[in-house]
């Protein structure tokens, strides 16, 4: 495999997973914290559902999305099947429950006194969430890391909705599947090494960030 192609695949992997996890973090951190601070009737059911979706098989999600996005499907008019946008959507849906669930846990595990104090300030929910997210940021960041790991390493969903089109929707994991089935194990090992390096770089960056934001925490 040429270096330029390998670079293109690597950059697409980072772009798709990075965008998906950024979006799922924006929505999931807010949603998870909101679930943690509010008391409502179906809270336990919602938490159970979120936790269940954390383990959604990527292939199943990919198949459901495929049916929705295919030309005859209800979302076919969007015309995004077999594009990076569909891959981002798939990974967004795959990682959203992870960020949401782990954010809920992180905020819920804050000391009761802190939550009561924030409650007593009579602030709008938006400010309450901001204050509590700031306090739970290390736990939340772990959730984002878990989501990123899941996104970078998953193959089932992106191969179905992306189609593994060369120079367009081929990412590291789908390329590995393709070259494995072609019997080109040298390329597979190269791609595997790059995937490991990418994964290692993400982990290192997040750990450094965790260390940075964790300074001064209790």
């Amino acid at each position: 495999m040429e270096v330029s192609e390998l670079l293109q695949i690597t950059l697409l992997t980072i772009r798709v997973s990075g965008t998906a996890v950024s979006l799922s973090s924006i929505v999931g951190i807010w949603l998870g914290s909101y679930i943690a601070i509010r008391e409502f009737k179906l809270k336990k059911l919602v938490v159970t559902l979120v936790n269940t979706f954390m383990g959604t098989p990527p292939v199943l999600l990919g198949l459901v999305l495929y049916l929705l996005l295919s030309r005859s499907g209800p979302l076919g008019f969007l015309g995004v099947l077999f594009t990076p946008a569909a891959m981002i959507l798939a990974q967004f849906l795959l990682t959203l429950p992870i960020v949401t669930g782990l954010s809920t846990s992180a905020v819920e595990s804050l000391p009761r006194e802190l939550k009561e104090y924030v409650d007593s300030l009579a602030l709008p929910d938006f400010y309450k969430v901001l204050l509590l997210v700031n306090e739970a940021r290390i736990g939340i960041l772990s959730g984002v890391l878990a989501a990123l790991s899941r996104a970078v390493s998953e193959v089932g969903a992106v191969i179905i909705v992306g189609g593994n089109i060369r120079y367009y929707t081929r990412v590291l994991t789908t390329a590995i599947v393709f070259y494995t089935s072609s019997g080109d194990f040298d390329t597979v090992l190269e791609l595997g090494l790059v995937l490991t390096v990418v994964y290692f770089a993400i982990n290192t960056a997040v750990l450094l960030l965790r260390y940075k934001v964790g300074e001064g925490s209790a």
């Binding site: 000391p111 006194e113 009561e116 104090y117 007593s120 300030l121 306090e135």
Partner: protein, 231 residues
């Protein structure tokens, strides 16, 4: 007048508060004393509108608090500053810990700065202003939490053992500040305490809570022997 009327609160089968009534007047300090597990903190949390009573009601200046109405509750809570027993601090500087809640409550930045600096000085925390609040000692954290509560300029001040981690001389300073604050601001002040000396020193009215029931009430001049009897 601030009234808690016939408050009942249970946790499972256990009655934590059993028909408790309490009255507070503006400018005066009400102290609630009692042994551990008497229900003092629960009563304070109900007064802070953090938890609803099973029975009974809270009346603030003639308005009944509707615990089921979030908007009404929030409006009432804006009048309250609550200091929990183990005061939490935000992961931020000491200064920000006081300043931020003021800004989030919509207080203009100049006024928020003025109040923050005033209470930092009054409670002798100025030299720690830039320090991360988690690096303070237990007593300093308690002072910080108190500064944060007083800076809100509340109409209702609810303090759960505000001097429990303080050295005796600092505790006396805080007690003096509380007394003059309640008088000057003409606010309601309700303090849960475990200290006989503190109860004697600051209480205008003393309530003795034992096993969820008000066992005795001492308005006015409280005999020290009586206070000792209950703590």
């Amino acid at each position: 007048m601030l009234k808690a009327v016939n408050i009942v609160k249970s946790l499972g089968e256990t009655k934590i508060l059993d028909n408790v009534s309490l009255v507070a007047h503006r400018g005066e300090i009400v102290v609630i004393v009692g042994p551990n597990g008497a229900g003092k903190t629960t009563l304070l949390k109900i007064l802070a509108l953090l938890t609803p009573p099973d029975e009974g009601h809270i009346d603030i200046d003639g308005s009944l608090v509707d615990f089921s109405n979030e908007e009404d509750k929030r409006r009432m809570q804006e009048k309250i500053a609550y200091l929990p027993q183990k005061p939490p601090v935000f992961t931020a500087s000491v200064y920000t810990n006081i300043y931020l809640p003021l800004r989030l409550r919509g207080i203009e930045s100049g006024e928020a700065r003025r109040r923050t600096e005033h209470w930092l000085t009054t409670l002798r925390l100025s030299e720690h202003a830039k320090k991360n609040a988690h690096k303070l000692s237990g007593g300093q954290k308690q002072l910080l939490a108190l500064a944060r509560a007083l800076a809100l300029d509340p109409e209702i001040l609810l303090l759960d053992e505000p001097t429990s981690s303080l050295a005796p001389s600092t505790a006396e300073l805080v007690q003096d500040i509380l007394k003059s604050y309640a008088r000057e601001k003409n606010c309601y002040a309700i303090v849960v305490s475990h200290s006989t000396a503190e109860a004697k020193r600051i209480a205008d009215t003393l309530y003795v809570l034992v096993s969820g029931k008000i066992e005795a009430t001492y308005p006015g001049n409280i005999p020290k022997t009586e206070v000792h009897k209950w703590i």
